[in-house]
Amino acid sequence: MTVSIRIPTVLRPQTGGAALVAFEGSTIGEVLNQMVAAHPGLAGQVFSADGSLHKFVNIYVNDDDVRYTGGLETPVASGDEVSILPAVAGGAA
């Protein structure tokens, strides 16, 4: 199943400038592993040394943060849109 991933500006140097990439997998973990295999510069940005998600990266499937929907096991289906967004201080504060 092919899933498209939106790459934030801060990570585009690692994808040769591409804002949108597409990879296969049935869970978000599989898709992200395919992505870092193709763009090794992303590995240390997306994952911590222990293989969990980097603390300052948020991964969204159709705008839902995967930390609350099953983590790296969150299922994905064809046509799902994945976004990677850096964790930053929020808004109206």
Binding site: V10, F56, D63, T69, P86, V88, A92, A93
Partner: protein, 321 residues
């Protein structure tokens, strides 16, 4: 109506209104708590009062003493709330604020006598937080309340917002609010889960990461200590991004039920609608949302009156949440 001794006594006890006319699911009620009714105009009045009173209890601030200076990073509402409280109590407030906030937010700070220190707009709220830390370190004589880490922030919601919601809507099934410092969600969420662990907590956030062009490295990232100290990842049930177009569309739809609210309230309403549409057939739910502030501070963005496509583009460049 009672006669109040001080405007500070008017903070809290905000009304909740049924906005189910906008619910996509006839079995799901959606209720909005109108925080714009607070005297300085937003939900942040609650924490402003509590942050300052906690500092007074701790001896960091001394009521009536001269030349007491506070510094705080804020993209708007906390600064405005603090500025109002400081005006009444005689403290001098410096607010570190990103350059790209609406003109009304800047003006309101000046109305209440605060001083504005601009941080680079491209660095968003992160940049304001960083600059406030630097300035506070250079001036140890200034009081740095630091809403992102101060337990008095979630405590205000644990002690007031949460109990008000549970008293007025004891049968609520979901609470949905915006995620900034996380103070509202942590404080209200903790209180509600203690009353009924089945209540679901949803956090709504803007896609801020995309707007923050100044972010050079993911290690510049930031998670508010209020979130980690309160085990936010365990407390929340769902965290979802609402993008500018949907936020603005729902800000406009709120007019249909008589509510002229700020753009973050529209984003939260969009999240509530998403939540309502996920409730399975045959089940019912009652969602309580927070309408953080009213629309006045956003009129200059043209949010209600200009072409939606143009406003969406504009919204991507300003901090509205």
């Amino acid at each position: 109506m009672a006669v109040y001794q001080s405007v500070l006594d008017l903070i809290g006890e905000t009304p909740i209104v049924d906005v189910s006319a906008l619910s996509p699911n006839p079995n799901v009620r959606i209720l909005a708590k109108l925080e714009g009714r607070n005297p300085a105009g937003s939900v942040k009045d609650r924490i402003a009062k509590n942050l300052i009173e906690a500092a007074e209890r701790d001896g960091l601030l001394i009521p009536g003493a001269p030349d007491q200076i506070l510094i705080e990073p804020s993209s708007g509402n906390t600064g405005i709330g603090l500025a109002m409280v400081c005006k009444l109590k005689g403290y001098h407030l410096k607010v570190v604020m990103p350059a790209n906030v609406s003109i009304e937010r800047r003006q309101l700070l000046l109305v209440w006598g605060a001083e504005i220190i601009e941080s680079p707009g491209s660095e968003g709220s992160n940049g304001a937080v960083r600059m406030a830390h630097q300035l506070a370190a250079e001036h140890p004589e200034w009081v740095f309340l630091y809403q992102y880490a101060n337990p008095a922030n979630p405590e205000a919601h644990y002690r007031t917002t949460g109990p008000e919601i549970f008293r007025d809507v004891p049968d609520l099934t979901h609470f949905i609010a915006g995620l900034g410092t996380s103070g509202t969600l942590m404080g209200v969420g903790k209180f509600l889960k203690e009353q009924n662990p089945a209540i679901q907590l949803w956090a709504i956030e803007p896609p801020s990461g995309e707007m923050v062009d100044g972010l050079r490295n993911l290690d510049d990232g930031y998670i508010p200590p209020v979130f980690t100290d309160n085990h936010g990842e365990q407390l929340l049930d769902r965290k979802t991004v609402v993008r500018p177009r949907e936020s603005l569309e729902w800000t406009r739809k709120m007019i249909e039920v008589g509510l002229f609210v700020g753009i973050s309230s529209g984003a939260i309403m969009a999240g509530a609608v998403r939540c309502a549409s996920l409730i399975p057939e045959g089940e019912s739910a009652t969602i309580v949302t927070i309408a953080c502030d009213d629309g006045w501070k956003y009129l200059s963005t043209g949010a209600w009156t200009d072409d939606l496509d143009e406003v969406v583009e504009r919204a991507k460049r300003i901090i509205y949440f």
